[in-house]
Symmetry: C2
Subunit: 372 residues, 2 copies
């Protein structure tokens, strides 16, 4: 039997508690032994929760309990979450997280710490929520040179863009609806500005190419300027406007990374990815295109991925996986130099250009790359 | 360094040799050590192949060579392939295969043999070719109860159905074109009759539910009776006719397994899966729907999955994964009793019924379940 502790009893943390309880038999079968939830660490009180007896306020209890083998961090951010993760790894505990910011900004340090201690640090849920993405990338597709990745990895903005299309709302109204329904947070900046998508882009690049891509090096344009008009134009052509994460490896060895709204033609499998769903197309030099699709957020889907990591950590407790990347900067090219067709609009008139680098695209009220 | 041998130098076997050679650095990075191709066993001569120096005719050379750690079986069928796999496992070598027939019919025995010898027996490429499917199912999604799976897992029939739609050909003509282009074999029976799809359905059920589903227990209807008319009708409604593998777990604990042409509405992500591509939707009780899409066949995509397994086998050489299922029969219900809407056609008139079990569907020249 292995004991685990959850740090942070919010949306994801409470989902993890639920998955461990309701799917106890599946978890034990996967892990090869029982997985028992011993503590939940949160500064808040949850007197009405069935998990109330497990709640503690002091992380030191977990840190100092040799019976706790795996720590699940679902606090978010890089403050307490970083401190607790460091301390858990230093105490020789495996760590699992859904915290994309922590992995994108401190992955090199935390993975090195895990390696030094002979434990696992897993973060499948940090990109694509419940969709198996990272393990397929570094495991199933490991016989490939990864040539490119492109995907919809922010459910909030995809929900907003879908709602604008379906209900004929401008962005502000769609955002309000998304907030009301719980698809967007009260402070939606990191979603709307593309920051969240950038973090996920970085984690994918780190794993695929083995060097670090720091978030501040990724070109980013959020969705704040996407007008209903543009969505209607794309829709009339059978396609859609989607916020895409793009990663390419050029033949010169340079990588290109950017996040921006794109005009996605009907032929692309990504054009049918709607609402809060996520999808990623990974292109390998042997396998060609593979696509992974599913729920990119939400309590239980995200918890499914977190608990999958817990199971893997338990099963490989004595032979950690040793994933990781170096702290050396990934060599980057300027995506502005990459040619593609562009959607351009002035007033009510729109068209698609021939393949052009960004600097040659005519001035326009709206311009978005066409996904090829 | 680990040495490996390929058994069978056909489409997949030669792809494996190519991946190991061209992506040598990626393979070594994934495996944590060099992976060296030492033998290729085939009764045929390949004097012009760059791999000619590695070709041997006698499997006993591989069997008796203690330097060979992993054997890749790409012979196909259950004759020599079964004999060689048994002998390789008995000799303490890890085995990897793309042979769905062997796994579906003899998986219980071969996995038990591997377990007894403390080695891995992997077969990711046997379902969905290059698409990561099996490892996500038993690994990433292991925190879930698997509720259902539905997918397009035979590229040949999907190519034929797509060609009929796009070129307005009847099945016979589309089959001839598929044969000319290498998408169908000269003897296409196992594809057209659904036998190949049944084998893949069995492997998915075995892994998801831990008991054996023998191929002869799966209800099957191939595509031989699908008329251009039906495809055109589906297409006019925005959907398509697809040969689907279906697996469901009822609340009574009974499972339902069948392979048949379906009317797939436009809203389903499966309706956009065309040509020789494959896709599978796995539904877990926590993650909801996840879809996996990509090249379901072909030399290099299939080899990508095979070499991914080789890498995993090498990395876990000292701690085999212990996947498997018991020889006990999976408890099955009769899919005829499951209600769904149906597409029915008589002459040129077609319609969709309300939800009905099979016995209540009116007599018709063509009737296919509607995917819900």
């Amino acid at each position: 039997m292995k004991n685990i502790a959850i740090l942070g009893f919010g949306t994801v943390g409470s989902g993890v508690a639920k998955v461990l309880t309701e799917n106890r038999a599946e978890v034990a079968a996967g892990a090869g032994e029982e997985v028992c939830l011993k503590y939940i660490v949160d500064v808040r009180d949850f007197p009405d929760s069935p998990f109330a007896p497990l709640l503690v306020k002091d992380f030191a209890l977990v840190e100092q309990d040799p019976e706790v083998s795996v720590v699940v961090e679902t606090i978010g951010g890089c403050g307490v979450a970083l401190d607790f993760t460091r301390r858990a790894l230093k105490a020789g505990k495996h760590a699992v997280t859904s915290n994309k910011q922590l992995v994108a900004e401190h992955g090199v340090e935390l993975l090195a710490l895990a390696k030094g201690k002979g434990v696992n640090y897993f973060f499948e849920a940090s990109v694509g929520g419940g969709i198996p993405l990272l393990r397929p990338l570094f495991n199933d597709l490991s016989a490939n040179k990864i040539l490119s990745m492109k995907g919809i990895l922010n459910g909030t903005t995809n929900y907003i863009l879908t709602a604008m299309d379906r209900s004929g709302m401008e962005l502000e109204a769609a955002l309000k609806e998304a907030q009301r329904l719980g698809y967007a947070e009260l402070n939606p900046d990191s979603d709307l500005d593309g920051t969240d998508a950038v973090r996920k882009t970085c984690i994918l690049a780190d794993l695929a190419w083995g060097r670090e891509l720091k978030p501040e090096r990724v070109s980013v344009e959020g969705i704040r300027n996407v007008a209903l008009k543009d969505i209607r134009n794309a829709s009339a052509a059978g396609g859609s406007i989607k916020l895409l994460c793009r990663l390419l490896r050029g033949e010169d060895g340079l990588c290109y990374a950017w996040v921006a709204p794109h005009f996605v033609p009907a032929e692309s499998m990504l054009s049918g990815v709607n609402e809060a769903f996520n999808a990623l197309i990974i292109t390998g030099n042997m396998v060609g295109d593979t696509m992974f699709y599913g729920a990119g957020a939400g309590s239980l889907p995200t918890a499914s991925a977190v608990v999958g990591d817990v199971i893997d950590a338990v099963r490989h407790a004595s032979s950690p996986r040793g994933i990781g990347w170096t702290g050396e900067d990934l060599p980057l090219g300027d995506p502005e130099e990459l040619s593609s067709r562009w959607y351009i609009r002035n007033g009510d008139t729109w068209s698609l250009t021939d393949a052009l680098p960004a600097a040659k695209v005519p001035a326009a009220e709206a311009k978005y790359r066409v996904l090829d």
